[in-house]
């Protein structure tokens, strides 16, 4: 046998942990509904407290700083469980983005609920900040004269104009006065890492939502009887679901590949930017097909507030537009291809020069 090289395989996340995450959100959903359709979602502090007691709100924070010392793999399971049960919280923004950045620049992290705000450069339109009005503190990043700076700003010191996305999650416009603040220096590499993480979080959430929409479609067509037989027996219905499932599966492959590279390389390689753009493109386009086909097989009931399908389809559509539209990511991929040229395209795709 010739050497086939060392294969490193993904360490599996502890199943008990995953079951625990699932149970917390399932319990919560039993006692809470989504409220009126137009109500802006807020961070439920009682649930947050419960998750905090279980060590889940700072899942990936270092143990020295009060975190649970877990990895993005565990965090992916947490985000996925929240998506599955349609529970909206700033878990990713708090743990994976805001608290991570504070720790990375050597700052203390306390029990406050945090989100992340990247100030647009001069002359750039304001960007929307997720969950700003729900947070206690807003980790604000801006570009000073001598490079990037970050400050952990109390939300009360910030002017917040409320906004919401398609699923009524807070997407607020914030104005932070940074002229009097010194903040802490942040290396540009950390800013690049922050942007990669933010983009990948949404790909992970979109993939989770798409799988749920497909699973709901399978359940529906197995139980709904028309023309004397379950909808699942109609080939036209099978085809719609098969196409949706195939799209979601490839989006998941692309997203997991990007996460795998990120964890193996410490989020540092240039190739990771391409892989994340690929994941966001695949997940974004998959959301079109899955949403269309899932609603088609559900019939009119799937368009109601009462039915849960929208918790996944509308969420996928909302999240695919965060931290860059689908076309923004398509152009990123195209630009990478243009730079690689014909001869460099395959090495770009495989990540091997």
């Amino acid at each position: 046998m010739n050497a086939t090289g060392a294969m490193t395989s993904t360490p599996a996340v502890d199943r008990d942990l995953v079951a625990m995450m699932d149970a917390v959100f399932a319990d919560y959903r039993l006692s809470h509904d989504h409220g009126p359709a137009e109500a802006r979602v807020d961070c439920d502090r009682v649930l947050w407290q419960r998750l905090d007691e279980l060590g889940l709100v700072r899942l990936t924070g270092s143990e020295q700083s009060g975190g649970s010392g877990a990895s993005w793999r565990e965090s992916t399971e947490l985000l996925t469980a929240a998506v599955r049960h349609g529970v909206r919280l700033p878990l990713a923004e708090h743990d994976l983005l805001a608290c991570w950045l504070l720790e990375a620049v050597g700052q203390e992290v306390d029990d406050a609920v945090r989100t992340i705000h990247l100030m647009p450069g001069p002359g750039r339109p304001p960007t929307l900040t997720p969950w700003a009005d729900s947070a206690d503190r807003i980790v604000t990043v801006w570009r000073g004269d001598d490079g990037y700076r970050v400050a952990d700003v109390d939300a009360s010191e910030i002017t917040i104009a409320l906004g919401r996305n398609l699923i009524c999650e807070p997407r607020d416009t914030v104005s932070v006065e940074v002229s009097g603040r010194s903040g802490h220096m942040v290396a540009p590499e950390l800013i690049a890492e922050l942007q990669r993480k933010a983009a990948l979080v949404r790909a992970i959430q979109v993939c989770a939502a798409l799988d749920c929409a497909i699973a709901a479609s399978v359940d529906h067509v197995m139980s709904r009887i028309q023309f004397g037989r379950p909808l699942a027996k109609f080939q036209a219905i099978q085809n719609l679901i098969a196409d949706a499932a195939a799209e979601a599966a490839v989006a998941r492959s692309a997203t997991e590949a990007a996460l795998h590279t990120a964890l193996q390389t410490g989020w540092l390689t240039d190739h990771l930017d391409f892989q994340i753009a690929v994941a966001r493109s695949c997940a974004g386009h998959a959301a079109s097909v899955v949403t269309r086909n899932a609603h088609q097989v559900h019939g009119a009931i799937g368009t109601t507030r009462e039915h849960r399908l929208h918790e996944w389809t509308r969420a996928a559509l909302a999240w695919r537009s965060d931290y860059g539209s689908v076309h923004f990511w398509d152009r990123k991929v195209a630009a990478a291809a243009a730079e690689a040229g014909g001869a460099g395209l395959w090495p770009l795709i495989t990540g091997t020069d």
């Binding site: 799988d211 692309a254 590279t261 395209l345 495989t350």
Partner: protein, 385 residues
Amino acid sequence: MTPTLKRLVPPASSSNPAADALRGQVRAFLAEQLAAGTFTPSVDAWLCGWDETFTRSLARQGWLGMTVPERYGGHGRSFHDRFVVTEELLAAGAPVAAHWIADRQIVPSLLKYGTEEQKHEFLPRIVRGECFFGIGMSEPDSGSDLASVRTRAVRVDGGWAVTGTKVWTSGAHHAHAFIVLARTTPVDAAHRHAGLSQFIVDLAAEGVDVRPIISMNGGHHFNEVILDEVFVPDSMVFGELGQGWSQVTSELSFERSGPERFLSTFPLLTTALELAAPQDVSCDVEMGRLVARIAGLHHTSTAVADALQRDEAADVSAAVVKVLGTTVEGDIADYADLRTGDETSCGAVWTDLVSRAIDQRPGFTLRGGTNEVLRGVIARGLGLR
């Protein structure tokens, strides 16, 4: 109740530095070959690019029959290594049709079902690039519905007499042998898949008539093979009598999940990049979507290859690769064709590639199981049927 979805595709979880080194070796070899002018990159070259000289030069590199154990003259490499080499060859549009069926399908089948005699007879020659194979499954009245094959094998002294007609046999006019699916007992309506067996049939044997099926663009790779009481010795019965159906279906994942299911038109994409101004490409969202899809499928297909290496069932994940992969192959052909007209002047190389791609395109979603059949496989994997 909150729904959960069973995974259709295994995790894309391995990174393999040795495979990266292998990619480098294949690329260096291809660069030399291109510089020497031994081949011109083409679309669908795994079906249309029959070049025995190129095949033998690959054999000299040790890149044919890679998974064949050394005792059968092979290289004892992993399935993953073979996957890497084939990906590189297809991405470059190299002419690999001559050995394609033997290397992809016959090798794993022989290793799994072949007798010692059959393995010693064929494997060393396949590894050396001296023995080419075809597949005899489809018939004039049996396309997607393979269980309806009518070719029959009748017991005779010392073997079997095989009679029937096979169609779409790629390369039968050059190949040495093909594996024929035939009925050895009459159809039982209650068990349609029973009573089928496989035979290794020498294409030079008496009673074999190979007739060309010319494609709509004039190309000749398909054939009709008429078998008139062709004698097949007992030693060339392939696998177990009566187990033909499960033998054929258990090997389909090798055929359906490979890189030839998403890279058939890749050379068109690279040529498009070479011809276009970079600033135009950079804002071309459709180019971005296509490249992203190919990259995503590369990960999916790699994950399936790893599952096959671990001997796991991969029929559903292979169907996912083939449905989306062959669709994007067609999308690339269309992408190119939509940008080509009498007001554009891209030269003969481009026009030829585009013509070939749009002529080959209908076949992408037909061969190796139509996408309609494969959607059924995915639906079954989801528990819908």
